[in-house]
Symmetry: none
Subunit: 254 residues, 2 copies
């Protein structure tokens, strides 16, 4: 194993467990504690970690819905299940707005046969269909937000304001009984425009989003038609959402 690889694995491991002791890390990457120490110092300088006595912790928010990497294995099987379940909700021949966000990305992967028209501001989604010509994909214009691979800015908002679609499939950072919130303020305006443009609103939220609140409020529950989540969603909140008139679908565990 190369030094590079080892550091990468340390980061990946910490991404999963959030905090780990030196011993734990050393064992995981099969190196001495000295080496891990040195690695941690350089990684800390790079800015993703914070060393503590006896171990290290990641700085980056552990589950950022919109930080896109296809290598993201975070709640992967749940997201896949949600993707499948969500696609089954859609009839054929519909125009669909797809939000950016990792969960919705997994919806897109199953969408190829269903939807003839997809509108999105997500580069990863666009790339997904860039070589397949079954689907017509419309990409909203805008400024590329680097880390996320999302198009943002007034151009994007304007593009969605001028559109009409049957369904919008959305991501978000958190959901409570007070409504839906998101962490990236830049995206809020765009998401609002998406909500206005679509007749039916579906939110795809894995169970970790339940009971969480992010900084920026996006919309109330009255806007939402359906929520697709996985089977580990907290039952209490699910029941409460249903009494509020929101359809909640639990994707079966695969």
């Amino acid at each position: 194993m190369t030094a590079e690889e080892r550091k990468h694995r340390i980061e990946a491991y910490l991404q999963r467990v959030e905090f780990a002791s030196l011993e734990e890390l050393a064992q995981h990457v099969e190196a001495s504690t000295s080496t891990v120490r040195r690695d941690l110092t350089t990684l800390e300088a790079a800015g993703n970690l914070r060393r503590t006595h006896g171990g290290a912790r990641i700085i980056t928010p552990k589950t950022d819905e919109f930080a896109f990497t296809s290598r993201d294995t975070h709640q992967l099987s749940e997201k896949e299940a949600i993707g499948k379940a969500c696609v089954e909700l859609l009839g054929t021949n519909r125009s669909v707005i797809l939000d950016a966000g990792t969960t919705v990305y997994h919806v897109a992967r199953y969408l190829e046969e269903k939807a003839p028209q997809i509108v999105t501001n997500s580069l990863p989604v666009a790339n997904l269909f860039a070589s397949a010509n079954k689907v017509e994909v419309i990409l909203a214009g805008g400024v590329i937000y680097p880390r996320l691979g999302v198009l943002v800015g007034p151009m994007t908002v304007e593009a969605f304001s001028k559109m009409r679609a049957d369904v919008a499939i959305m991501s978000a950072g958190g959901i409570t009984l007070e409504g839906i919130t998101n962490s990236h303020a830049l995206l809020i305006d765009i998401q609002r425009a998406m909500l206005k443009a679509a007749q039916k609103i579906i939110f795809c939220l894995d169970h970790t989003k339940f009971g969480r609140q992010s900084v920026s409020p996006l919309c109330g529950l009255d806007m939402v038609d359906t929520i697709v989540t996985d089977s580990r969603a907290p039952q209490g909140l699910v029941a409460a959402l249903r009494t509020q008139g929101v359809e909640v679908i639990l994707a079966p565990h695969t």
Copy 2:
């Protein structure tokens, strides 16, 4: 196995596994570690790898993150030379419109340090900068034209009509003394909008485009400020273009 093939296999292998040790690579391509070392040095210079102690790592695990590798190796070295020469034409701090097309794609690869603002309708170009945050990239909206990864349609035309930029770097299908032509009728309207939006017009055309005519006329030579081509361009036509007041730059053979 040829050297070319070997390097290609190294790249392909790394594309899959992200990291690999020298031993691992040497075994995979059935060559000595010395040879692999040399290969890695040249591949690193080409920009796709990064050498590390004990092995190598790909710089962009583009596999599916923002995937869109232009596998096109047609006239590669010429296009690279044109790319370099073209970038040297640009001062710093400029807004640049980038046309879609493989030649212009190679310009983009050298543009990172120069231009703070890039406007394009090309997905490959967008992907190139999607993870780098030195450059601000504006992507025009539109419908994805599958095979080419280009955004087309009225939305795209409108986006460019509303813009102003210092320079437009363009591709085309052919150039003669009668003007510049292009084969994709869908792109003509967009390219015209680009030309109108920019103050200075640069065309990047490898030597095979000289003396060729495609179906759709794009613009006359009076619109063109500069043409960047490679050293194999026919001297007669180059001279004739110069008498017409067009600056023609021959990128030196590398």
